[in-house]
């Protein structure tokens, strides 16, 4: 059975997200959900628009970090709020990611995530081959 998800841990001023998944692609999807759900309940977002983003990273940590930074960047720069990642294609350190979501102007948000930080940041592959990660974001 597939086992993946995320939960929020205590962190004074910021938010600490612990993420787990069976494979790296699922880990990326869960972590993205963890970040966006701090801003708005993603269930409330209508899948009215779609967007492709391309990111680079020489290892799993860089790919995750850059992906999360990118989904924040498109909120301000393209007024796009993500509902879900529907497809991820990673090849030679380049990831093409397909997102569905909507225009930010159609929603009221409960908060803002300023940035992804390197504080206690990690991506780990466990002995069983699963992935865990921790992401602290600045609110």
């Amino acid at each position: 059975m597939k086992d993946s998800g995320y939960k929020y841990l205590e962190q004074t001023a910021d938010a600490r997200i612990f993420v787990w998944a069976d494979d790296f692609i699922s880990l990326l999807k869960e972590a993205a959900q963890g970040v966006i759900n701090l801003i708005i309940d993603t269930k409330k977002i209508e899948p009215k628009a779609e967007i492709d983003i391309e990111i680079e990273g020489k290892d799993n940590e860089e790919i995750l970090f850059n992906l999360l930074s990118e989904i924040l960047y498109i909120i301000d720069s393209k007024s796009f709020i993500m509902k879900e990642i529907t497809m991820i294609d990673i090849n030679n350190g380049t990831a093409i990611i397909h997102l569905i979501g909507d225009n930010t102007e159609n929603y009221v948000f409960q908060g803002e995530v300023k940035a992804i930080t390197y504080h206690d940041f990690f991506v780990e592959r466990t002995l069983k081959g699963n992935y865990t990660s921790q992401v602290v974001v600045d609110l």
């Binding site: 910021d14 409960q110 803002e112 602290v136 600045d138």
Partner: protein, 467 residues
């Protein structure tokens, strides 16, 4: 750790610490600091190259990323470093205080309308865009000119600039050091409040401690109306910080640093120059942002027959910034992260109007509590690298606040104190409730006891807009 007096503690250097960690706190505040990693972070800061004097923790210190929030450190200009982790993601997040020459009773009948109009005219929260359309070249000019650009374009008075730290613009900002990504994020955000702990408060003066200094700042009577704006450089500043953390991480990931957010550039390096220039550009964007919001506030109040020149900028101060200053006879990069500058009277960097008083030090409370105007005194140069605390400081994690604080109870408690709240998302504001923060009175008391500042006036909120 040893206690120095009732307001100060010190951790003498051990291991790879280069200087002590000096903590401004009483027992209670110290216990709060011990609950998270704030002290460990201040110790990490004390190990950085070129640090002078001490790694400081102000009474509102709590865990950040890299530096603690409420952390101050100075690094030698020639042999030291500059680090984005000592400034923060929201570069030049800060406070602007505006004074009106009228009492709260004079506008009592209009308060509801004023509240609604502020909320309608000023974009608040994450989604809404600015009504000011900027071209790319406008944005580049703002990054170089700061609040001056906004005033030049008819949105403010010359005096607004004179009463701002750095006159609302740090010289030497080069927009070429700011990435296109950062500009993409900022171009629609001039004059927007943002979310999180950002706010606009209409307040009344509750207490004046020093009538001479207060009146020289334009605070002349109890119940006088003031307005506080708390916001920063928005997405542009966040992106600049993220960009440079990424660039600095690249040239060899194994740095030996305990915390990746403390990654730094050596002060002589090209990267240090580029980051400092981009930081200045972001700081300028933040001053421009607060100036544009001031313009919207004046526009709204104009509809209630309050004239532009009756609305005076008292001061505008940065909370997250690095600056070149002289301390202990050395030229240094002072990093203030969640801390304000607090230069005492007769300091050579003070503009003429604040020469005999020191510039106003603005310390906001938390939605339902007092905000303070203070001024630096001699001890701030001797003990805190010319710095003071920046506010109440977070006590409860956002997660716990959201779980434990009740929406209706919060609104009722504020109402009982005579405070009206408007926010795009009440649920999103729970983590900004007064009980999620340390007691502002205690923070102010320790800053005074330690001899860093003296109080000038205290205000209470009447209308609050939370992002």
């Amino acid at each position: 750790m040893k206690q120095i007096n009732q307001a100060e503690y010190r951790i003498e250097p051990y291991g790879d610490m280069r200087v002590p960690v000096n903590i401004f706190a009483n027992k209670n505040l110290l216990q709060n600091m011990e609950k998270d990693k704030a002290i460990e972070q201040a110790i990490n800061v004390s190990t950085l190259p070129g640090i002078i004097y001490a790694s400081l923790m102000l009474p509102d210190a709590h865990q950040g990323y890299g530096f603690p929030i409420g952390g101050v450190a100075a690094f030698d200009y020639h042999d030291g470093i500059i680090t984005p982790g000592g400034i923060g993601f929201d570069i030049n997040c800060g406070i602007r205080l505006i004074g009106l020459n009228m009492e709260i009773d004079d506008i009592k009948k209009d308060l509801k309308m004023i509240h609604s109009e502020f909320f309608r005219q000023i974009p608040v929260g994450l989604g809404p865009k600015s009504s000011i359309n900027l071209s790319k070249s406008d944005l580049n000019d703002i990054l170089t000119e700061g609040a001056r650009w906004v005033v030049k374009n008819g949105m403010g008075l010359k005096e607004d600039l004179e009463n701002s730290e750095e006159n609302g613009c740090m010289e030497g900002a080069d927009s070429r050091n700011v990435s296109e990504r950062a500009k993409d994020r900022g171009i629609n955000q001039l004059g927007t409040l943002g979310a999180g702990n950002h706010f606009i408060e209409l307040q009344k003066v509750e207490e004046i401690f020093d009538t001479n200094i207060a009146s020289s700042f334009g605070i002349v009577k109890k119940n006088q109306v003031t307005i506080s704006i708390h916001t920063g450089s928005r997405g542009l500043g966040h992106e600049v910080c993220s960009d440079y953390l990424r660039i600095l991480q690249k040239p060899g990931k194994k740095t030996g640093l305990k915390d990746g957010n403390l990654i730094y550039a050596e002060s002589k390096s090209l990267l240090a120059k580029e980051y400092f220039s981009a930081m200045k550009a972001s700081a300028n964007f933040a001053w421009a942002n607060r100036q544009a919001i001031t313009h919207f506030i004046r526009k709204v109040l104009g509809n209630f027959q309050i004239k532009e020149n009756e609305i005076k900028v008292i001061y505008d101060i940065a909370h997250n910034i690095a600056k070149i200053e002289k301390h202990f006879g050395r030229k240094v990069f002072v990093h203030r992260k969640g801390a304000t500058r607090a230069l005492p009277a007769f300091h050579e960097d003070l503009p003429i109007q604040f020469r005999e008083t020191g510039h106003p030090v603005l310390m906001p409370g938390s939605m339902g509590t007092s905000s303070y105007i203070l001024v630096g005194v001699e001890g701030s140069l001797r003990k805190s690298i010319g710095s003071c605390a920046h506010g109440a400081g977070r006590l409860m994690s956002r997660k716990r606040a959201k779980q434990t604080i009740n929406q209706n109870k919060l609104v009722n408690e504020l109402k009982q104190k005579g405070i009206e709240l408007k926010t795009p998302s009440l649920k999103g504001t729970l983590d900004e409730a007064p009980e999620a923060y340390k007691d502002i009175e205690e923070v102010v008391e320790i800053c005074i006891l330690a001899g860093l500042v003296k109080p000038v006036a205290r205000m209470m909120p009447v209308l609050v807009i939370k992002g």
